[in-house]
Symmetry: C2
Subunit: 110 residues, 2 copies
């Protein structure tokens, strides 16, 4: 496997039980991965203290909330979720794949 | 204009004189934008001290180098350029649009 090049299509994973997350690359300052949703799956509204985040919707359609804005988002939309601002996926309206990136990365899961 | 939602297609800019850059969103920890290349345009090999970066090729095809790897990259490929590792675009083989993100963001241009 390449150290620096990775295909999104080869990494996508769907889980019928819950929205699926895939880490692609992680450095000290930046994490990039995928969030994959079956139709109807969601991501609870949450915020990150001190970490900026964005999503790029690659495939599908999802109702997303950031701050006071809620929109139905299609492929090619970048969604910015800056530090401290609540954000989440109300519902995936189709099977949906998002690139997601956060800086700095969250600590290892405990 | 939305504070949090932006369409890549609406932001793409090409410049026949040089590769074009567009900032989409910038926070204290993270910058996300676009790099847009006409066929034949390039980005000199360079590195960032202490900043992690990645590209996602959205449209087109480009010959890219990171470290010792050089690949012809198509849409849907994530290219990881971690801190201190030299990287660049040898040549856009078609008109090409990349999402690019770096953390922490570079300082304002002087």
């Amino acid at each position: 496997m390449s150290e620096f090049f990775r295909s999104v299509a080869a990494e996508v994973v769907f889980d019928p039980a819950r929205a699926a997350k895939v880490d692609l690359f992680r450095g000290r300052a930046l994490l990039v991965g995928l969030n994959c949703f079956e139709r109807g799956q969601s991501q609870k509204i949450h915020s990150h203290a001190g970490a900026d985040k964005f999503y790029l919707l690659i495939e599908g359609k999802a109702r997303m909330t950031v701050g006071d804005e809620t929109r139905d988002v299609e492929a090619g939309t970048v969604v910015w979720a800056p530090a401290h601002v609540p954000h989440g996926i109300v519902e995936a309206l189709e099977r949906t794949v998002m690139l997601v990136s956060i800086a700095p990365p969250p600590g290892p899961k405990t």
